[in-house]
Amino acid sequence: MSVNTRTNNITASDVQVGDTLPEFSLPITARLVVSAAIATQDFQDVHHDKAAAQAKGTPDIFMNILSTNGFVGRYLTDWAGPSSRIKNIKFNLGAPNYPGDTMVVTGEITELNEEGENTIAKIEFRGKNGMGNHVSGSALLQLGAAS
């Protein structure tokens, strides 16, 4: 496990509206698409069988939505650390992630709201590949408490 992730703990006092999250670059490979599709229990052939995907008119296999969801979740907590809690994720889907491409995810804090003792950060994010936005949306993330 990366030491980084373990010790990372973004708290309310570390951030302000307008801060950007570190960029995350994800090379799309067939192994990534297939292993994530299986991990998400998605056995549709377009996510593991290139010939079947091409028969349906796409150039290659492509990432399934639940995997996109998983990578978005990882992006959020990689940044905020394990003491953060994901409350909501919403997104629109666009250009598919095909092997050979790279998705670059960026994010920005657009709101910080107090909810009881907690601070909820609204993060707007987008994952862009060579053809445009694969995913764009926003998330509500409860930040960890100051230790």
């Binding site: 992730t5 373990r6 150039p59 939505i65 639940l66 990882r74 092997p99 060579g130």
Partner: protein, 334 residues
């Protein structure tokens, strides 16, 4: 005619809307194995999920599932079967009817998920689903079809809702003939900016940029400056001209920020400004190194010559200091 088709189909499927269907059970309880498989596939090293030692100081006692795993627990197995005890009703009967009517393509277009709490090892879940809305026939880039919205409730054994989602699909008319398979992914063509045609009238401008200069036309007869490049002076109609090198300093005369639609290869939001150069002419360009909210009409800016792609250098403009920052960055890279 579309309207008639739309109305007929909508009438046919109306009874399938707003029917809560379920339960769809999970094959297995939440398990360390599946959480591990998820985390290794996603490269997710968050110690909250699998690191028992780290978790001692948290509200969780057992292996904890990433909340984004919400949907996978009660999905079908590799054979396409729902777990024992699930309803045998087709949750997407409405979509099947659309498919039978020629709308066979489906894609999910949006997800909105709320996670009420994280699941831990050993919990069993199931879900219910309700198709809550279907639009009229719409025409999109994918063709004609209907947007269908699903509301899914994800529950634990004691019917506690741990997550919910609103998912919108587009069910569309597939072309009669499938388009041929395009190039494989490894050859995905990178979309680049279109290079303008260089001709006698504007070649000085593009060559100047490649040489690191912003060149502005100056009339040889009356000394009026002009931009963008034109063959004739609009003041005295002289066809004779030469160029001067602009200092690259100016101010924002006006601007707009493009948000939508997003067209590659541009970055969005895309701030486009008309810069009044200190020499007196104006140039339309893209702003760099500035957030849309910080842009003000009248603010001083300076040119940041940027090689946006191979063989294309553009005079972007940014706040004072961005040119030297860009230079420093370039020096560090080389």
């Amino acid at each position: 005619m579309s309207d008639n088709v739309s109305v007929a189909i909508k009438e046919k499927v109306a009874h399938l809307l707003n029917r809560r269907v379920g339960p769809y059970n999970s094959w297995n309880p939440v398990s360390r194995t599946q959480v591990w498989q998820w985390c290794t596939a996603m490269g997710d090293n968050n110690p909250l999920y699998l690191d028992d030692e780290y978790r001692q100081d948290t509200e969780f006692d057992d292996v904890t599932a990433p909340p984004t795993m919400m949907q996978m627990w009660s999905m079908r197995d590799a054979q396409g079967n729902y777990a024992p005890g699930s309803t045998d009703k087709n949750p997407y009967e409405l979509l099947s009817v659309l498919e039978d009517n020629g709308y066979a393509g489906i894609m999910a277009v949006s997800y909105d998920q709320t996670f009420h709490r994280y699941l831990q090892e050993g919990e069993r879940v199931h879900h219910y689903t309700t198709l809550v809305n279907m639009t009229d026939l719409k025409t999109t880039g994918m063709g004609k079809g209907f947007f269908v919205t699903e509301f899914a409730e994800f529950l634990t054994e004691d019917e506690e809702k741990f997550a919910e989602a609103v998912i919108t699909y587009f069910q569309y008319e597939t072309p009669k003939k499938q388009p041929g398979a395009k190039k494989p992914g490894s050859d995905i063509q990178k979309i680049t900016r279109v290079h303008p045609v260089e001709n006698y009238d504007n070649a000085h401008f593009w060559q100047g940029l490649r040489d690191g200069k912003l060149l502005i036309q100056k009339c040889d007869s009356c000394a009026t400056l002009r931009h963008p490049p034109q063959p004739m002076c609009s003041e005295c109609q002289s066809l004779n001209w030469s160029t001067i090198e602009a200092s690259g300093k100016g101010s924002i005369y006006t601007y707009t920020v493009m948000h939508y639609p997003e067209i590659p290869p541009f970055d969005y939001p895309n701030a486009i400004a008309l810069i009044e150069l200190e020499e007196g002419v104006r140039i339309a360009t893209q702003l760099t190194d500035i957030k849309p909210n910080d842009i003000k009409i009248g603010m001083d800016v300076e040119m940041v010559l940027t090689e946006v792609q191979d063989d294309m250098t553009l005079p972007l403009f940014g706040p004072i200091g961005s040119a030297s920052a860009a230079k420093k960055k370039q020096e560090q890279q080389s």
